[in-house]
Symmetry: C2
Subunit: 233 residues, 2 copies
DNA sequence: AAGCGTCTTTGATCAAGATCAAAGCATATT
DNA sequence: AATATGCTTTGATCTTGATCAAAGACGCTT
């Protein structure tokens, strides 16, 4: 990879914990790679995997039951870190929901670099703890929330996560954004079927809470109502 | 705390990463505490919390929606680490499912100790990554599995986790064990109601796959069948 | 602009699990 | 031993979301 110092996620990715000279070393290990929408970066059970920083685009982590049922267990955005360092193999599949660009390291080279850099490990620890909190929040959604609550919660979450642009958070929440996934993927995130997702969208649209000018665009008209529907106190 | 070197979880808890002299320092910071079943060690949103190693017993982490619905997001056993280091506050409630004993640290003292000990942080990172994998596995259960599959999966998991006794794993799986939780808690782990849990127990009992000599005891008669029901390939 | 393929919405029906209600059981109490 | 108390199981019914099926809408290609 040519130059980390000009990387758009330089200050948000785990690399932010590194000094310029350390970054130089890391940059020798990584290489940029473009991924097309739908393409898989990492297969579950893959024995020779990689880890990566997301530079641009949206990726999903998914687990698949043997009979084909798929659950999306995480949606990852620019500056997020994907892959399973220190592990035998990745327990989940990592694929692109949109065209994306990532900064890839072989796991062995990343692992040994990390071993020498406690700051990097510290950053990774913080991220893992945050991821864990998010995963558990989502468990609550999957275990206890109704279909309408799930949809509303996802929209609130997306309007939050998609709003961070570049290094500084712009408007805290977006009232208009493009869905980075199709209806089937929304269903696989929320533990619902595509028909139920569609019906719930129609429902809150008819209530005037949101608009859906086309398949991918969401406009939030009544954020407070949407939050109420999401079950946020 | 008097003596870490005789602690029953000494070699399995995160403390295992420490040298004897470091352990001496840590032992000054922690203190042992007994918790009764049902008692809460840590409330969500608690501003002055603690972290702890579990010495004995079973604890649960739970998240509560404002209207009272509760989802149990993790079940933790001896040698597991609970609490949210480096965080502002704990996002979940930690309480005892059985009488338990824990080794407690104030978060501030633990955090500053951890800052000086990369090995400890490394151990914590490994644990967090493992926890994350388990949380995501459970998301798949909550999002995609049927009631029967959920019950079977839980029984397999319990027969595995409860079998580790002392420092060495004894028989890899237990075919007879005591449930550390009641039916309502099982429901809150699996995203079901207590009635559905009861009916599914009855169902696989009538099929001869398990026996339930009393409320708390489970005997697995046909492990391979149980695994098949759990949806394990 | 017409035609094709894919994704999404809508409709009709079904089923798994939730809810409401009551009866069993086991342990603790007097 | 008799009785209260708190789980747990079982039964009857209802609801939410799944499934099956078809029609629309949108983007792409020619």
């Amino acid at each position: 990879m040519s130059d980390c110092s000009t990387c758009v996620v330089r200050n948000r990715a785990i690399c932010a914990s590194l000094e310029p000279d350390e970054l130089q070393v890391l940059s020798k290990l990584g290489r940029k790679r473009k991924i097309k929408r739908g393409e898989t970066l990492l297969w579950e059970g893959d024995p020779a995997p990689v880890v990566a920083n997301i530079i641009d685009g949206v990726l999903k982590l998914s687990m698949n039951l043997h009979d084909g049922r798929e659950q999306i267990v995480s949606v990852m955005y620019a500056s997020d870190f994907v892959g399973r360092p220190f592990g035998k193999e990745s327990p989940y599949r990592v694929s692109a929901m949109t065209d994306a660009e990532v900064c890839v390291f072989t796991r062995s080279s990343f692992d040994s670099f990390a071993k020498e850099h406690p700051d990097l490990q510290n950053k990774l620890l913080h991220r893992s703890l945050d991821e864990l909190d998010r995963a558990r929040e989502w468990m609550t959604l999957l275990g206890k929330k109704s279909a309408t609550e799930r949809i509303a919660t996802l929209l609130i979450e997306l309007s939050d996560r998609l709003s961070v642009d570049g290094c500084s958070p712009t408007s805290r929440y977006l009232d208009r954004f493009e869905l980075p996934m199709d209806r089937q993927q929304i269903a696989d995130i929320l533990g619902l079927t595509i028909e139920t997702v569609s019906r719930q969208f129609t429902r809150i649209r008819k209530q005037g809470i949101i608009d859906l000018p086309d398949r991918r665009t969401v406009i939030i008209n009544e954020r407070s109502l949407l939050k109420a529907v999401a079950g946020v106190a």
